[in-house]
């Protein structure tokens, strides 16, 4: 029984990280209807930036905040410089650009920081919280951070004029332009937000999986599964999907299919959801009038 609880809680902790990255995927998907395959590598790169700052003696939370700001700017720049020229290109072309970005970030990180693993400190104290033996304090902390990010994203879209403008630009670009919203910039901000949220995912994941250039490859796959499961156009759905995938993965690996095909569980979820309910558990079914 305690082993089962252990599996569930360690699944929840990883699930929280999948959920944050899934949120980042949702940010870009909402605006462009594309899944950014380079999201994980961008997050990994942000984490290295944070590591470099902490290593040079900066306090954790200062580095944390600065990394988020830098990632936001970086994300916007990527949209302006790399993605913008392909705005009207076919979907496949853009997918290739995403894969190109993935490879570039991965190789540059390896070249600059080497492929040996690095430790990335957790901001949370080493002591367990409330005598909790099932989760380390970092794991509990990561889950709290997930909820905080989710609440911020929700509040941003629900209560701020900028959030409203972004939603409008995503849903109806032509009308938005007519009422004076700069649609191009909304896209850039969307990329910036995605990069910033991804940076949080990276900084929460690194203390658990260690920092190395390939750390986000598996995580991105699970995050994608989580986003698809919950509905890739719905932040709440994506977050719940992320948690669910984290737990399902552990339970299936330990008790159902065995660890050999644990990773395949993610793929089965993706394919299964797309076949049975393409919009995901909480997603809206998209209807286009023709």
């Amino acid at each position: 029984m305690s082993a089962l609880l252990h599996q569930i809680f360690s699944g929840l902790a990883m699930g929280g990280i999948y959920a944050i990255l899934a949120l980042a995927l949702v940010m870009i998907y909402q605006a462009t209807h594309l899944v950014n395959f380079a999201q994980g590598e961008m997050a990994m790169f942000s984490t290295y930036v944070a590591w470099e700052m902490i290593d040079s003696g900066m306090p954790y939370w200062a580095a944390f905040a600065l990394t988020i700001v830098l990632s936001f700017i970086g994300g916007m720049l990527i949209e302006r410089i790399v993605i913008r020229p392909f705005a009207h290109a076919p979907v496949l072309t853009i997918v290739i650009v995403f894969i190109g970005l993935l490879l570039i970030f991965n190789s540059v990180a390896g070249w600059r920081y080497s492929y040996t693993i690095k430790t990335f400190d957790s901001p949370f104290p080493d002591k367990r919280w409330f005598g909790n033996t099932l989760m380390s304090s970092h794991e509990s902390g990561a889950i709290l951070v997930t909820f905080a990010v989710l609440a911020l994203v929700y509040a941003f879209f629900r209560f701020t004029p900028l959030g409203l403008a972004m939603r409008a630009a995503a849903q109806n670009p032509a009308s938005s332009r007519l009422v004076g919203i700069r649609v191009g910039w909304m896209l850039a901000i969307g990329w910036g937000l995605a990069a910033a949220i991804g940076a949080v995912a990276g900084m929460m994941a690194a203390p658990i999986v260690y920092l190395d250039p390939n750390m986000m490859l598996g995580i991105l796959l699970y995050a994608f599964a989580g986003a698809v499961l919950g509905g890739i156009d719905n932040p709440w759905g994506a977050a719940i999907g992320g948690f669910t995938v984290g737990v399902l993965e552990n339970i299936a690996g330990a008790y159902v299919v065995g660890p050999e095909i644990k990773l395949s569980v993610a793929l089965v979820i993706i394919v299964g959801v797309l076949v049975v309910r393409p919009s995901g558990l909480f997603g809206r079914t998209l209807v286009t009038r023709v």
Partner: protein, 403 residues
């Protein structure tokens, strides 16, 4: 503007380059060898995910440079052409063909990677080109019957796992063993070796096997399952990142099995430190070389020679890099083989001598570890020393063991 003339000129130049590349083989029985030099080929992952191993190639080149400066071997200089394959087997094949067909090397030496070497083995076997001292620990290189042109060097994973198996039977006969292994040739070699070491009578001691894929984020879930099985011995057959995760997780969940760990992950800097020095206490591994960070060897002749070599031919960071030390040892073995060849440097004789090393001791191998090969033994190093981690460094215990 490219005129027709410049185009033609360019064509002529490249045709000439092609032609010079395809010059006829030298005396058929000693390809790649002249009175002045021996041409040797190699592929290394200087870029890509395994680039940390690239330093092996640098150490090989540096060692041969040292030999050349001392006059070479029988007056011949060693010319090692070391090419980048990015740890990608298709590229290894391409580069190896280039080395064999264009550069006309005498043999391939110390190319790195299990998949890479597996990809070029059929080609080299077919063309009867020696594939010497491959830089991988898989057991498949010790197969002289089917692949008489390929030979390994370091103790292979099966050898090491069987040493662990024998040690478990000797010290903890009623052990309940859990195994965490990477789901590929490396991890499976470990399982095979462990079973061989335990012997048929004790194979039942393994009560739980849990595998992981390299693309998984963590092995935390596997560790929890292994704990749940009731195992009191844990064998960690994992690459550095996952080994560090496994060590940390066992500690964090308050599980205290006897932990054996593959020597692939014995690096203090990239495994024990990330896992936590306190959490790594008591981990057992097996080793065959001298640890340069171990104060025991400070005044050792072998270590001093190594330090002098690094000072002159490598960079200071390489002094404590176990990969650089590995290259230093392999290159010395190669030089021994070429010396044994005397003036018959045909591929046949090079292979014959590679399979005829007797009790060779090297400066950076542990005292008593001897390199031996014979026509039916293509596993040069078979002895290892058990070591346990004391929170700062590895300390040896017990005698040298043979797998």
């Amino acid at each position: 503007m490219i005129s027709r003339r410049t185009l033609l000129q360019a064509g002529a130049v490249s045709a000439a380059a092609l032609a010079s590349g395809l010059r006829p083989a030298r005396a058929a029985n000693a390809v790649g060898v002249t009175e002045a030099e021996i041409k040797i080929g190699q592929t290394m992952p200087y870029s890509g995910p395994a680039s940390a191993y690239g330093v092996i190639g640098k150490a090989d080149v540096a060692y041969f440079k040292m030999i050349n400066e001392a006059g070479g071997i029988n007056g011949r200089k060693l010319n090692l052409i070391s090419l980048d394959d990015g740890y990608s087997p298709p590229k290894t094949v391409e580069q190896t063909r280039r080395l064999v067909e264009q550069e006309q090397v005498a043999f391939i030496f110390n190319s790195l990677g299990t998949p890479s070497n597996a990809a070029i083995r059929p080609y080299l076997t077919e063309n009867k080109v020696p594939q010497l001292f491959v830089a991988t620990g898989a057991a498949m290189w010790n197969d002289p019957k089917n692949f008489p042109w390929t030979i390994g060097w370091q103790p292979n994973y099966q050898t090491e796992a069987s040493i662990f198996g024998k040690h478990i039977v000797a010290t903890k006969p009623g052990a309940k063993i859990g195994v965490l292994y990477q789901n590929d040739a490396f991890g499976k070699d470990y399982l095979t070796g462990l079973k061989a070491g335990l012997g048929a009578d004790h194979a039942g001691l393994i009560i739980k096997e849990a595998s992981y894929e390299v693309s998984e984020p963590t092995v935390d879930s596997q560790i929890v399952s292994l704990q749940d099985s009731g195992a009191d011995v844990l064998l960690i057959a994992a690459t550095p990142k996952f080994a560090a995760q496994a060590i940390r997780k066992t500690f964090d969940i308050g599980w205290t099995p006897v932990r054996y760990m593959t020597d692939v992950s014995l690096s203090i800097a990239s495994v024990m430190k990330p896992a936590g020095l306190e959490k790594s206490k008591g981990v057992i591994t097996a080793n065959y070389g001298k640890d340069p960070t171990d104060a025991r060897w400070k005044d050792d002749e072998g270590y001093k020679g190594w330090a002098a070599f690094v000072a002159k031919y490598l960079t200071p960071a390489d002094l404590i890099d176990s990969n650089a030390i590995y290259g230093y040892g392999v290159a010395a073995t190669m030089v021994q083989v070429l010396k044994q060849c005397e003036n018959d440097l045909s591929r046949e004789n090079i292979m014959r001598q590679a399979a005829n090393i007797k009790d060779l001791e090297l400066p950076m191998l542990l005292p008593g570890v001897k390199i031996n090969t014979s026509p039916d033994n293509f596993a040069p190093i078979r002895q290892e020393q058990l070591e346990s981690f004391n929170g700062e460094s590895w300390s040896a215990f017990g005698d040298l063991l043979q797998g």
